[in-house]
Amino acid sequence: MKKLLIFSLLGFIASCTNMVENNISPYQQYKKFLTSLKVKDYEDALHMLSPDNQARFHKDKADESFNDFFPFFSSVGSVVVKEVRYYENNKAEKSCLTISGYNKEGDPTSLNFELLNIDGYWKLNYVHMAYHETKNEFPNKATCPVIP
């Protein structure tokens, strides 16, 4: 009886933990990704990418590092340095996240991400880095990257 109670309690704690994890929004996931890049925790950063990206890395990386293999994802921190606004458009399976602001030179820039819902976690699947001519070109809604 005591064991059953302990297992039930552990199950409850685990489900609470999952709930918290599932509540991480695409924007929060982006912020977490930036932190991982900043502290050079590439294992954690890789874990935040979609399963296809992770599988491709393990299969094709050869002697390439995370930075070399993912030139776009590993450079997202340099695009929007001073953030102005962001928009999310979340659906069951997919989310589009747009962050606009300025790079360190003061040029207007945006990041458009496609994220996939993988078992309740938002995983980064694709990134579009946009360098605008003026701030008037900032998107006014979440813009999904058009993947070529």
Binding site: N67, D68, F72, F73, S75, S78, P148
Partner: protein, 142 residues
């Protein structure tokens, strides 16, 4: 200057504009083992795309030396040995004219030429240095 040379210099200039927008990502993508592609539309809107990302910017300034208005252009790059980059380009011009060329260049030489004094001087003047054009011509396998 022949159209072929103009196109090769334009490719170098487009990479130079990408580099000026984001030095880190442009260097990484050009040096990476994967294939990547540069496309340009009639308005100069330029996309540098790899497998899981893309960079977009206006590359209109790089098209000014072409002497003909483009409808679109597409350049695919592939890493060769060491710093050697192979490319195949198709430029379509207004008036039903098109051109396909291929070649190779040393990426380190191109990057150094752009971060060097010559490139900075050319940018500061907001006009192209004849010497800089010659340098790009030499680098782009002419």
């Amino acid at each position: 200057m022949s159209k072929k040379v103009e196109v090769k210099i334009t490719i170098a200039k487009l990479l130079e504009v990408a580099y000026s927008k984001n030095k880190g990502v442009t260097t990484k993508i050009i040096k990476s083992k994967g294939n990547y592609k540069l496309t340009v539309d009639a308005k100069g809107n330029t996309t540098l795309s790899g497998s899981v990302g893309m960079l977009t910017f206006n590359g209109g300034s790089a098209l000014q030396g072409l002497g003909a208005k483009i409808k679109n252009a597409s350049i695919t790059f592939k890493k060769g040995d060491s710093n050697n980059i192979k490319y195949t380009a198709t430029f379509n011009f207004v008036g039903a004219a098109g051109m396909s060329i291929s070649g190779s260049f040393d990426i380190e030489e191109l990057i150094l030429s752009c971060s060097g004094l010559l490139c900075r001087a050319a940018k500061a003047l907001k006009a192209r240095h004849a010497a800089y054009e010659m340098e790009l011509k030499r680098i782009m396998d002419y």
